[in-house]
């Protein structure tokens, strides 16, 4: 019996500056079962990282605000917690791996101490014990214990990312958010790091939200996938279903822009156009300007979330408002 670990309901996050409001996340809902994994996929600026920061409570203090919605984690609404209560959760129950391992470690503290620090924050009062556990963590991510007293500049990019993974998993968190964990690494190292995340996730029984702009990366690790576009989850479903039969035109566009070895193609088909300015709230469907199936109605009526068996999609074609020409073309 699967129980829900994380349930995001209608989360809306904005960046508010003096003369502008950036609508970064616009009412997304997402459920993650204990031990489950979701891939959050979308272009740069789709709101993936903002979603992660909203969960972690790491939004920039002056500008970032959760306007409405709730983030239920183990039944507690994280949006209502105080900074102190959030601190107890960060690093121990919810951890995060960041995009750029080159800059994510403090250059003047040894890697051993950086791992031990998170253990000391969350309960391991004994310094020696924390150091010992930090060594264990290093070995777990495949770095010899003997390198504990070395500094980040003595490690390669892939090894730094392993250290960051060790920091994130040190307190055995319930939820790991990996924000583009392999984007800054070269392809062979990417594969190693992904494999490690997958193995450790299974070993430690951690739930995972993997953020990536790369469908291939998500395909290797996750059970479910959520496609984000302009701060909305436009499609959600089991990875296999979404990949084999995309319901949203944007998902289809993303899949069409991946090179496939078995299909001979002169050129990949890009999604034309750009993502809309997040400071402007459009009427109608947000994807309409770039959608090859768009009709008149799309610029008037905004789509709502339609449920199709255990999948969800935001498109008027699936509300029956306009004819589903996409499915016809597919089949």
């Amino acid at each position: 019996m699967e129980s829900l670990l994380l349930s995001i309901n209608n989360l809306t996050t904005q960046y508010i500056t003096d003369n502008n409001i950036i609508h970064a996340v616009n009412g997304i809902s997402l459920e993650l079962a204990r031990g489950g994994s979701i891939g959050l996929v979308g272009e740069s600026g789709a709101g993936k990282t903002t979603t992660a920061y909203s969960i972690m409570g790491l939004l920039p203090k002056l500008t970032g605000k959760i306007i409405k919605g709730s983030i239920l984690f183990e039944g507690k609404d994280l949006t209502l917690l105080s900074e102190e209560e959030m601190r107890d959760i960060r690093g121990s129950k919810i951890s995060m791996i960041f995009q750029d391992p080159m800059t994510s470690l403090n250059p003047i503290i040894t890697v051993g101490d950086q791992i031990a620090e998170v253990l000391e924050i969350h309960g391991t009062s004994n310094k020696n014990e924390a150091q010992k556990k930090a060594g264990d963590m290093l070995e777990m991510v495949g770095i010899p214990r003997g390198r504990m007293n070395e500094y980040p500049h003595q490690f390669s990019g892939g090894m730094k990312q392993r250290v960051i993974i060790a920091i994130a998993l040190a307190c055995n968190p319930e939820l790991l958010i990996a924000d583009e964990p392999t984007t800054a690494l070269d392809v062979t190292i990417q594969a190693q790091v992904l494999k490690m995340i997958k193995e450790l996730k299974n070993e430690l029984d951690t739930s995972l939200i993997l953020i990536s702009h790369n469908l291939g990366v998500v395909a290797q690790v996750c059970e479910n996938v959520a496609i984000m576009y302009a701060g909305r989850i436009v499609e959600f479903g089991a990875l296999r279903d979404v990949f084999s039969k995309p319901l949203h035109p944007y998902t289809e566009g993303l899949l069409n822009s991946i090179p496939r070895i078995e299909v001979e193609k002169e050129r990949l088909i890009p999604i034309r156009g750009m993502m809309p300015d997040p400071s402007i709230v459009p009427s109608g469907c947000i994807f309409k300007p770039r959608c090859p199936y768009a009709k008149e109605e799309c610029s008037v009526q905004a789509p709502i979330v339609s449920k199709i068996s255990d999948r969800r999609v935001m498109c008027l074609m699936h509300e029956g408002v306009i004819p589903n020409t996409m499915g016809a073309a597919n089949e």
Partner: protein
Amino acid sequence: MVKYILRRLLMIIPVLLGVTFIVFSLTYIAPGDPARMILPQDATEADIAQMRHFMGLDEPFIKQYFHFLFGFKSPSDDSSFSYKGLLALDLGRSYVSNRPVFRTILERFPNTALLSLFALLLSVLLSIPAGIISATHQYSVPDMIVSILSLLGLSMPAFWLGMILIWIFSVQLKIFPSLANPNNLKSLVLPVITLATMNTAVQARMTRSSMLEIIRQDYIRTARAKGLEEKKVIRRHALNNALIPVVTVIGLQVGQLLVGAVLTETVFSYPGIGTIMVDAIQRKDTPQILASVVFVAIVFALVNLVVDIVYAFIDPRIRAQYEGIAKIKINNSLGKSK
């Protein structure tokens, strides 16, 4: 590390040679004839020429520079014109007081050092906390106060500030004396404030901008993601990194302090290196000028050596560079010996 310190000490030598050459050239070019100044008003041209000969001033420029470095034996019977040269730390006697110039400097330097040290302490104690608060509370009222005060501090020249302080606190309020001397701590208050103001302003601005840059770094985000308290994020992760450029500035500021001492000591008639220099320049007391400038240059070079060593302690990457250089050198020499 020891090797590195030794190498840095050796590197000071060419710097000092350059400094001495420039200073020597400047005093050589400067108008006025020391021989004429030493002799009474009614001395004849022949007397002056002979005096110039005794003092070695009739020699060509390069030769005089070599005398300056390696010593000079006066052709006269009066040994007071002879000296052993800079390398023996002997630049002869002052034309005015007839005392060995370095002795005067060594007597007076502790006074300047005392003043500079107090000023440095005051500026560091004020500027670093101010810079940190300013950066961690960007655009807040305290930040604006710090910014305005440091702009103000930057815009006030030391001699002007000194005179204003004297006018307010000595003349009007009669709280602090206007003449400073090293045996009376109370009399040091005004000169220390005068000296420290500019440094405090520069360091506060530096700390603020450095801190602002560091707290936007990814590893600060990592520290927050660990669940670390914001105060500790700043103290453990941001401060050390942010202080690296600040330490550089403080090192350079020490030079500024010594220069500032010239003005401040003059304003407060304080018996330090600054007043020696001013007196010597006014009287064209060449040995005293040369000795003072060279001495200040040595102090400045040593302070910056200390700064570089402090760096290596704060930042393992810098430490690794030096160790790396040492390793490469060792490898090269091993390669050669094969």
